[in-house]
Amino acid sequence: MVSVAASAPLILAAGDGAADLSSGGFFAATAWIMLVLPFAAFLAIILVGKRMKGLGAELAIGAMGVNLVWASVLFVQNMAGGIYREVNLTIAEIGTLGITDRNLSFELGFVVDGLSIMMYWVVAFVGFLVFVYAHGYMKGDIRVPWFFASLSLFAGSMLVLVGAPNLIQLIIGWEGVGLASYLLIGHYWEEKENSDAAVKAFLTNKVADVGLILGTILLVPALGTFRFSALSTAADAHSDLLGGVAVAGALLLFFGAMGKSAQFPLHVWLPDAMAGPTPVSALMHAATMVTAGIYLMARTFPLYQQMATEARPWMVTIAVITLFVLGFLALVADDLKRVLAYSTVSQLGYMMAAMAAGGYTAGLFHLFTHAFFKALLFLGAGSVIHAVHSNNMSDMGGLRKEMPVTFWTFVVGSLSLAGVIPLAGFWSKDEILATLGHEGYTAFMWVAILGAFVTAFYMTRAVALTFFGTYKGHGHPHESPRVMTAPLVALAVPSVIAGLLNVPGVSWGPIHNFTDWVGARIVPMGDYHPKAIEWDLAAYGLIAALAGIALGWRLFAPDAGTQQARDRLRIPVLYPLLHNKYYIDDLYMKGVVNPIKGPLARAVDWVNGYVIDAAINGAGAITAWLGGLVYRRLDQQGIDLVLNAAAGGTRGAGKRLGLVQTGKVQQYAGAFVVGALLLVVAFVLVT
């Protein structure tokens, strides 16, 4: 039942870094614990959480802590020397399904390799800190046990997704993440707005999930496997056969990833998802939910790299649109969390662009660094919100003195996000730019550099409006408790130094480069990663960032506490456009939701009424002819009637046709029975 791939998979033989992969030790063999623990915590919290002192938070934190230990050990082991282990448990034989020549089976299991270890660690690390933070943040809230149970479910689903060795398990985790996010976004469901946001997130994701599932259905028979590890082999073997199927399947998978990773135009749910408590946002934006799409791209990278290359330009285009166009929305938002949310959308665009362009490591590296500073920024924002009891920057200002820890960590996060050397964000963004340039997307590269300018600009605005000037809110804000600031500090450290893990061409003694351990040694599929720092590109990026900061500071810092600062961007045409989010929500509402939600019955009614009325009134020769045809077949009343039905008959035909529509089920059933009988008789007579 259990097949352990103790040896490295086939493709490694061909790769350049395919050396010395061990199957890991005890911790790799027991990595499934990480997948199971959060679920155990989930169940335990639901059952006994209410009666515990910390209302179940300790269970969630404990489980996450254990996970962190496991992930950290694996992380360090992997840094020192690559690990590969894949365990599959056959749950049920599905058979060939009649569509593929291979026997498919439904398997569950886990995979431990560079990519998944990186994700394990990010999820566990950010998750742990967020849980600890949430313990402070949610104190006194309603439904605390339920909150932590959902958080555990969230993290657990993400780990199942990340650890999935095959598409099916990935989909299970994928849906789990969707479900948990729905629960968490709608945590304060008493307000309709929040439950609407939850529903919106869920539905948007569901739309995208259709793509994922259709893609799976399309690809699996062609490839003959659910397993990722066999994907590249299969891709090799089938590359000529697949053709259009691969492109279609790949695009469908990408569609799924677009939903989870909030790519234009499926990004609409993410900003609204701010309705959930801030720790949820932090977790969702940094580690769990939105990275799932990027992760899916990374896992199925061979597919895009080797089979569905035609799909890539489209994907890059969408990603660049996302990173550039949606970044602007952060400029006008007043809600601090919304600013961060749009920045996340934009950064996801960067990652996706790199992924699609072929920069496997670049995309993952940005995911890695982004996880830290975005979690940091969200937790910082949460800390501010906790203090001033408002989400809006118009209620903040001047918090620099009251909340020093929050302020300094927030600044670190902002600089990192803006891409200021030598913080983490700089290195990862630079790598993406290099990838875009190298793969021939020069124009997009410049757009991305411009995007960096926008990023720096709005982050400066956010910092200025929040922490400088004078306080505009109510009450007296004060620094958050230790349980909340400690995670901030803990996140600030990697936000500063994580970039050094992957300075092109630089390696730190026994510690391998990020590029090495995250993937290249395992998936040598011809991705691009820069071998040395391209200083000119770096300079452009840096200049863009610094220019953004300078402009932002110039515009917003001097009178950060006043109304003018916030109104500075109210440019006539642009502002309404941005303020209304490019009217995309309206478009969805008016173009998609309302026609569907808006009484379907009325539409049917309309069709019924008009079509049949038309028949009755003889308002068209075709309708009349069709009516006459059906009528003849129903009544078996001879052909002669049809012959002279040209004019006079149409009227009567329509009338009788109308009578068929009695609305009485039994008459339909009777017709059905008679029809079926006739069919049977006909069938028997013919054969």
């Binding site: 049920a92 034989e93 599905i94 058979g95 439904f106 039994q666 008459q667 009777g670 029975v673 008679v674 009988l677 049977v680 008789v681 028997v684």
Partner: protein
């Protein structure tokens, strides 16, 4: 096999002993003028069909039939009927005037099916061979294995359908309270 040969087999007596009441009960189900009586006759028909299943050595299915149909479905029926205030003892005309066309359609169905059975039996040289001995109960394990191996996906699908039906049933039958009523309810 002639009729006299057929009737000589005791097991066929058992068959008749169940089939005849079954058909009669079924007729009463569709002709009875009292809904509760109709439902109770359905119980009789189903019980007879469970007996036939035992005759065909499908013991597990027989008891599933009893448990699900008689124990739950018909109880649900009666429940529904009574909740909608079935008139006790009162007989109403439960059929409408489509009786004759309906009878014709039913006869047609029977005729065609009967003819088909006859034709196919003749064509295939008949299935007239006696059944292997009674008492060869199918091991329930085989059923179980069938469910989780070969028919896993249909099994899950059926489970899903049941769940959907459950949710649908609740949604449909639930009385939606206005907010004011909900508050009232909370007071009590």
């Amino acid at each position: 096999m002639t009729f006299s040969e057929w009737i000589a087999e005791p097991v066929n007596w058992a068959f008749l002993a169940m089939a005849i009441p079954m058909v009669l009960a079924a007729l009463r189900v569709v002709t009875s003028r009292n809904v509760v009586h109709a439902a109770l006759f359905l119980v009789l028909a189903l019980a007879a069909s469970a007996g036939l299943f035992i005759l065909l050595s499908a013991e597990f299915v027989a008891w599933v039939l009893v448990l699900v149909y008689i124990g739950a479905v018909v109880v649900l029926f009666l429940f529904g009927i009574m909740i909608t205030r079935a008139p006790i003892g009162r007989e109403t005309n439960l059929s409408h005037n489509t009786r004759w066309p309906a009878a014709a359609a039913a006869l047609g169905v029977f005729a065609v099916t009967f003819w088909l059975i006859n034709a196919v039996t003749e064509q295939m040289g008949g299935f007239g061979d006696p059944l292997p001995a009674v008492g060869r109960a199918t091991a329930t394990g085989i059923l179980g294995e069938g469910f989780i191996n070969r028919y896993l996906i249909p099994f899950e699908a059926v489970g899903f359908v049941l769940l959907a039906a459950l949710i649908g049933g609740i949604t449909l039958a639930r009385k939606d309270l206005t907010p004011a009523e909900e508050e009232e309810g909370a007071r009590v």
